[in-house]
């Protein structure tokens, strides 16, 4: 006998499903089941992955859901077809949006809206079984009668489960009796929560995590046994030996249900047009208008390219999509919102003419096929960066224009990582929080849940971790199994879809943790539903540029950001010195190190830099050969003359994905679509078999074009070697424009630019203190916050940067408003005057005094602090209408805080140093003992062994091709930063000082390494600095 599981939970039941979607489908197929239904709790997130897995394993996907009703009872719903699926989406949407977040529930009346859905009476939490178990058969009968009349007798089944629980026998007998009395069919299910019996333990632990209890706690919601697995038809037959119709009915239901997402469908957005207009025609008109504006004179090459692109766009049904994006760009320009198109869309000349991107793809020789071609498997999408503070305004515009019923934000599946898995499952396994917390914190944040065991043996800072003890074995087993499971739905940074039909026919919606309503699908799955994603991203750099240029224009009205010259020598000189902290995409230590060697002299070098400092090229040791060729130290050669025009701009190296496409076309004569397929296979590390097949095809076609077999093979191998590191040139060019221009602004207007960066934190690679240090290094003073002068934000003041009041920890918006408002009435004359006239609470007043914001009114901070109670009494008296307002305040007396104490308060309250850098205080003793500063290292010879000291910054371990660990970090001091590299042998000895808990500066011993203009330290030893423990100590030695 055959059987189909019609009640099955995946990890998208969030802590109530313990096996991955694909594993469940694979198992169902192995058990020779013709179909499987997925029924997660109030959620359809698994739908697309489930449908794709079902196609892969050759079974039918029946999409369903287990809903919770307002009375907490459950019902199992199965969609018969797409209309049924849409009905489920709408029901689930209502269950989420009509209730507080996290408490989704369906109102009974909403069930009346269901169409083409088969309903099963549910598990023990269904109202009918629940009434029977409570001994209220009459209530169960009434409920069953109600559902029968609501859904129709043919659509409502009594669900029988034999999970070998106490009472199952009785319950099933009564359910059968009920079905007979009401002439209803019965159907068997196993309420599947995992694939095999052995996965029960994880399910139980997840249940405990969901219920915030431990495994030792007794709770009726926990499973009693491990029977909720995907049982075979034979096992189900045994369990339902007395009721075979319950099994055969699973097949009857399966026959009624159509496979979900079996055929591809597309739901392009519809751009609103005037009567008589059609999208393709309007798009053509706009593109040609744009071309006229961009080029003035339309050459045959432009005409040919645009005709080609428009043809493909029309063929693929994308005119409306382009119009939607064009309209967003138009709206942004109209509203003065800075934006920049990025990604492969910059390969399109049409996008350039429409003002969507700023990259002239024709002039750069970029290939449209990389962005769009008729044979492309995935859907192309257009990504646009908007200045961060107005991005949401653009999204609001989309909602208003297309209607909220047609628009949805895209979700992200936030999955368990090592830290979250250890913490949540550890608590469920009854490990105390104080024990778990340090274990979690020592685990690298990027680690996957299934990497914990390997990292315990690999990372020195974990070598003494208690996780090695046998008592943690079960926890680590659970973490292994849990890797990649979704924990909750988050909101994608900028993903948005616009549908041609009401969006809730395609996806359920729910409230995100951040507030906006999101789809229940992530970016990949939502495309699987036939929707085309728009990425409207928020980029703080664009806000920085906008603010900086506005500030600059106050003193230099000639600045035109769009017309910034791309060949400014001073800008390139700054880049070549590696002085790029704050420069978009060029500020990381790796990029700074590259720039000191690369000696960029033109915009193309910046474009190449974008592509070079990526995990691929670094891992593949590709950076140095590229730089050597660029500097003429290595000969540039081409395997075939046809390759020269393609690879000339990258010195014979395949750096960009577009080049793979061009080689495919030029050497093997591939069509654009075939060549893009080659690119996709190569850059996505597809299977060895696919690569081999493509290799044969490439060689065969090349030989047909007169190229020798061995040469064709060599070219293919060469492409293979480089192409997996390839980067989209269009994207690199789009980013490089912003990158170069931000460098130009820093070079010529550093105070304005760094002020803007400080106002848009957090952003970029470095914290405010490093930005402040960098500004100071460029001889721009950082002025302390001052209640008599500071604005809310950082401001430029006579060429210096004044710290804004917003930067002070704990100061509320109300306090800030009160300070500014009172100051506008009259200047503050004393601390007493300040306290009395503002509404700043006591703890914030203390912070203001401690960080020096009241120094201009009285420089004796200890005294002012001691007087605060008195000032506050005066404020109270004033508010009560009594007391002498301008009573004489006391005369400062006693010793003020030491300079070190003041600096310490300033840093802890402001997050940056307004006075002396802490390393400066230690410099005399460090110097006395032979420790070098970052400034000293600039003049040191390569290969020399030195000791240096500084505060640790950004330690990280990027992947390497060899798999060996290389650690990069920086040491910060009062002059700048020292970039350091630590190889695996040293890391094994000293890694715990780098990745363990930090307590002040580190001492590093190593060899000076000079490359180009850059200096770094190859570290041989690291030690904690004893000064950190006792800064007054004079006993520091590097011996």
């Amino acid at each position: 006998m055959k059987f189909v599981h019609l009640h099955c939970h995946t990890p998208f039941s969030f802590l109530d499903g313990a096996s991955p979607v694909e594993e469940l489908v694979q198992r169902a197929a192995e058990l020779d089941m013709p179909a499987l239904a997925v029924t997660d709790h109030n959620n359809l997130s698994a739908a697309v992955q489930f449908a794709q897995a079902a196609i892969k394993y050759g079974i039918k996907a029946i999409q369903g859901v287990e809903i919770k009703l307002a009375d907490n009872s459950h019902l199992t719903l199965l969609s018969e077809n797409n209309r049924g699926y849409a009905s489920l989406c709408q029901l689930v949407t209502r269950s989420h949006l009509n209730n507080p977040r996290g408490q989704a529930a369906v109102n009974g009346s909403d069930l009346e809206e269901l169409q083409e859905v088969i309903v099963l009476s549910g598990c023990r939490q269904g109202s009918i079984p629940c009434s029977i178990l409570r001994g209220d058969y009459q209530r169960a009968w009434q409920q069953a009668q109600y559902y029968k009349s609501l859904f129709g007798g043919k659509n409502f089944y009594i669900e029988l489960q034999n999970l070998l629980l106490p009472g199952d026998n009785y319950l099933n007998q009564r359910l059968l009796e009920l079905a007979r009395q009401l002439d209803l069919e019965v159907v068997a299910s196993n309420n599947v929560h995992y694939t095999g019996h052995e996965d029960f333990f994880l399910h139980d632990v997840l249940c405990c995590a969901r219920k915030l209890i431990t495994v030792s706690d007794i709770d009726p919601g926990r499973p009693l046994n491990g029977e909720n697995y995907l049982k075979s038809a034979a096992q189900m037959e045994e369990l339902f030996a007395g009721c075979p119709q319950a099994l055969t009915n699973t097949l009857r239901i399966t026959e009624r249900c159509q496979a979900f997402l079996h055929e591809p469908v597309f739901h392009f957005p519809r751009f609103p047009l005037l009567p008589g207009q059609e999208a393709a025609g309007v798009l053509r008109q706009l593109v040609w208008q744009g071309a006229q504006q961009r080029y003035k004179k339309i050459t045959p090459a432009i005409t040919a390219r645009l005709e080609y692109e428009l043809g493909i766009i029309e063929q693929m049904g994308f005119p409306d999509y382009f119009l939607v994006v064009w309209d967003l760009a138009r709206y942004s320009r109209q509203e003065g919102i800075r934006y920049a198109g990025r990604g492969s869309a910059a390969d399109s000349l049409a996008a350039y003419c429409l003002g969507i991107t700023a990259v002239d793809s024709l002039q750069r020789g970029l290939l449209f096929e990389r962005f769009m071609n008729p044979e492309r498997v995935g859907m192309p999408d257009i990504d646009i960066d908007f200045e961060s503070r107005y991005r949401d305004k653009v999204i609001d515009y989309v909602y208003k224009k297309y209607g909220s019923e047609y628009v949805a934000r895209v979700a992200t599946y936030n999955t368990f990582r090592a830290r979250s898995a250890l913490r949540e499952l550890g608590k469920a396994l009854a490990f105390p929080e104080p024990e778990l917390d340090p274990l979690c914190k020592r685990m690298p944040f990027y680690a996957r849940a299934d990497q914990i065991r390997s990292l315990l043996h690999k990372l020195p800072e974990l070598k003494d971790s208690p996780l090695h003890e046998p008592r943690f074995e079960l926890l680590l087993d659970c973490c292994d199994r849990l890797a990649g499971f979704p924990r909750f739905l988050g909101m994608h940074l900028g993903g948005l879809v616009i549908s041609d039909i009401p969006i809730t026919s395609l996806t359920p919606l729910q409230e995100s943790g951040l507030g906006p309503v999101i789809s229940q699908f992530d970016k990949d799955d939502i495309e699987g539903l036939g929707l085309v994603k728009l990425d409207l991203l928020s980029l703080r750099t664009l806000s920085v540029i906008q603010d900086a240029t506005a500030q600059i224009r106050q003193s230099d009205q000639d600045l035109d950001y769009e017309a910034i010259p791309l060949d400014d020598r001073e800008t390139f000189a700054m880049i070549n010195r590696g002085e790029t902290i704050g420069v978009f995409q060029l500020e990381s230590p790796a990029q700074r190190a590259l720039q000191t060697r690369f000696q960029a002299s033109e915009f193309e070098d910046v474009v190449a830099s974008m592509a070079l400092i990526r995990p691929g090229p670094i891992k593949g040791n590709m950076v140095d050969p590229y730089v050597d060729r660029r500097l003429g130290k290595e000969e540039v050669s081409y395997l075939h003359p046809w390759l020269e025009p393609i690879l000339k701009k990258t010195y014979g190296v395949v750096l960009f994905q577009e080049q793979v496409i061009e080689i495919g076309q030029a050497i093997a004569g591939f069509t654009p679509a075939e060549a893009d397929q080659l690119r996709r296979v190569m850059t996505h590390s597809r299977s060895h078999k696919m690569m081999e097949e493509l290799g044969h095809k490439f060689v065969e076609r090349s030989v047909n074009r007169g190229i020798e077999t061995s040469l064709a093979e060599e070219i293919f191998q060469c492409m293979l070697g480089y192409a997996s590191y390839g980067f989209c040139e269009a994207h690199a060019a789009a980013f490089a424009t912003t990158s170069y221009k931000s460098a130009y602004l820093i070079r010529h207007y550093p105070a304005e630019y760094y002020t803007a960066i400080l106002n848009h934190q957090p952003m970029g690679f470095y914290p405010p203190r490093i930005i402040g240090n960098e500004a100071r290094r460029r001889r721009i003073d950082i002025l302390p916050p001052d209640v008599t002068r500071s604005g809310i934000d950082f401001t430029v003041e006579m060429g210096a940067i004044r710290v804004g009041l917003k930067q002070i920890k704990g100061l509320s918006a109300a306090s800030l408003g009160s300070i500014i408002a009172a100051r506008e009435q009259a200047s503050y004359t004393s601390p007493l005057d300040f306290v009395v006239r503002t509404a700043v609470p006591q703890n914030s007043l203390e912070n203001l005094v401690r960080c020096g914001a009241l120094d201009s009114l009285c420089g004796h901070r200890r005294f002012v602090l001691s007087q605060l109670y008195y000032y506050l009494e005066k404020r109270q008296a004033r508010e009560n209408g009594s007391g002498l307002l301008f009573e004489e305040q006391g005369v400062p007396a006693g010793i003020d805080f030491s300079t070190a104490e003041k600096r310490s308060w300033e840093y802890s309250l402001l997050g940056l140093y307004v006075g002396e850098h802490p390393m400066a205080a230690w410099r005399p003793i460090l110097r006395q003992n032979g420790f070098k500063s970052s400034h000293d290292l600039q003049d040191s010879d390569s290969g020399r062994l030195v000791w240096a000291a500084g505060l640790l910054l950004h330690p990280h371990r990027p992947p390497t091709r060899s798999g060996r660990i290389t650690v990069f970090f920086s040491l910060e001091d009062e002059y700048g930063i020292i970039d350091a590299t630590m190889f695996e042998d040293v890391y094994m000895q000293c890694g715990s000082y780098i990745f363990g808990p930090q307590n002040g500066p580190l001492l590093a011993h190593g060899k000076i390494h000079r490359r180009g203009e850059g200096v770094s330290l190859i570290v041989q030893q690291v030690l904690p600095c004893p000064l950190a423990i006792n800064p007054e100590s004079a006993s520091l030695s590097n011996e």
């Binding site: 106490p166 009472g167 139980d204 030792s216 009693l224 046994n225 491990g226 079960l474």
Partner: protein, 80 residues
């Protein structure tokens, strides 16, 4: 785990109890009222148990279980 009284149980081919030897008497199983599985405190190393609620020929209602790890039967509960 609590100490439970070990039992001798005669089973059929499907390992279902036919008779229970209790206090030197063999009591035939008249009816099996319920049957369930319980994984117990699995995290503490406890093994899975198969429970049966039975009516025996002396009209007593008793719950017995088979311990999968020990491969032994035990008396779990007797209803008055």
């Amino acid at each position: 785990m609590k100490d439970y009284l070990p039992l001798q149980v005669q089973c059929d081919d499907n390992h279902l109890p036919l008779a229970v030897y209790y206090r030197e008497r063999s009591l035939q199983v008249v009816a099996r009222l319920e049957y369930w599985h319980d994984t117990g405190c699995w995290w503490a190393g406890e093994s899975e148990k198969y429970f049966h609620r039975l009516i025996l020929e002396d009209r007593s209602v008793r719950e017995i279980f088979y311990d999968l790890a020990q491969q032994e039967w035990f008396l779990y509960k007797t209803y008055d």
